[in-house]
């Protein structure tokens, strides 16, 4: 059941939910342990409630993410006076840094799932460095978040 729950957590949007999912899994494990001790019928009701709650939560999270996403991000358009080539290179650098942030976050999440906390702390430090680099690049090239 725990494995199924961890798998279903992937339905949630990535990003900030990645940090929540490790915590949700830990809370679920604790609740499952308690309900298992109260008999088969109680545990089955609990499992059903959890699965339905996850589906509903994921739908709400995706809807919220979709509502907040801007249709057209004017801040990423080339400012007047900046050559096209220079701006394209700057954007590439920022996109690369953004990918590095996302990849570290995913690795950290995976390490937490596998209870490899030393590894998770390593990726957390990498994540901090990647975010700092991204912030500096955005500042240098005048690209808003």
């Amino acid at each position: 059941m725990t494995r199924a729950y961890a798998w279903l957590l992937r339905m949630y949007p990535r990003g900030e939910w990645a940090l929540f999912s490790a915590e949700m899994l830990a809370t679920f494990k604790e609740a499952a342990r308690e309900h298992r001790g109260r008999g088969w019928a109680v545990y089955a009701r609990f499992a059903l409630r959890e699965i339905l709650g996850l589906f509903a939560g994921a739908v709400r999270a995706w809807f919220a993410a979709w509502r907040e996403a801007p249709a057209l991000d004017l801040t990423k358009m080339r400012p007047p006076g900046v050559p096209r080539q220079a701006y394209a290179e700057a954007l590439d650098e920022v996109i690369e840094a953004q990918r590095s942030v996302e990849s570290n976050l995913a690795r950290m999440q995976h390490a937490i799932y596998r209870h490899e906390f030393a590894k998770a702390r390593f990726y957390s430090e990498q994540d901090r460095k990647a975010r700092e680099l991204l912030r500096l690049l955005r500042k240098r090239h005048g690209i808003a978040e």
């Binding site: 900030e16 939910w17 929540f20 490790a22 915590e23 949700m24 830990a26 809370t27 679920f28 604790e30 609740a31 409630r49 959890e50 339905l52 709650g53 996850l54 589906f55 509903a56 939560g57 994921a58 709400r60 999270a61 937490i112 906390f117």
Partner: protein, 115 residues
């Protein structure tokens, strides 16, 4: 159709899970599982939140800055705890005031119909 006239700066009406989470955090910080247990006891077993519902509500409350998360001292359990912010406490007080006012109005109507 239901019409609700909102006063300026009036807080959004809270859903029951959100209200119960704020009530649960009013006396002390709690982590996810402790919140689930406390909410069940606060509602006398009527409300049992799933982790999906609980963390959805916590996510919204964090975005609204009504609560904040911090790491428990017991690092071995890899848990985050939540506590009310000043804005969250104010939000809870306003909602409880609103419910108190509604209860008072409802009781006075009932008494009037019985008299």
């Amino acid at each position: 159709m239901r019409h609700v006239v909102a006063k300026p700066n009036e807080a959004r009406r809270l859903t029951e899970p959100v209200l119960l989470i704020l009530m649960s955090l009013a006396d002390q910080p709690r982590h996810g599982y402790a919140l689930m247990k406390d909410i069940e006891s606060l509602s006398q077993g009527r409300v049992r939140l799933s982790t999906g519902t609980l963390y959805g509500a916590l996510h919204r409350l964090l975005e609204d800055r009504s609560i904040e998360r911090f790491e428990l001292e017991d690092r071995s359990r890899e848990k985050q705890a939540y506590r009310l912010t000043v804005a969250g406490r104010r939000q809870l007080e306003m909602e409880l005031d609103r419910l108190r006012q509604l209860t008072r109005a409802g009781m006075s109507r009932l008494r009037a119909s019985e008299a």
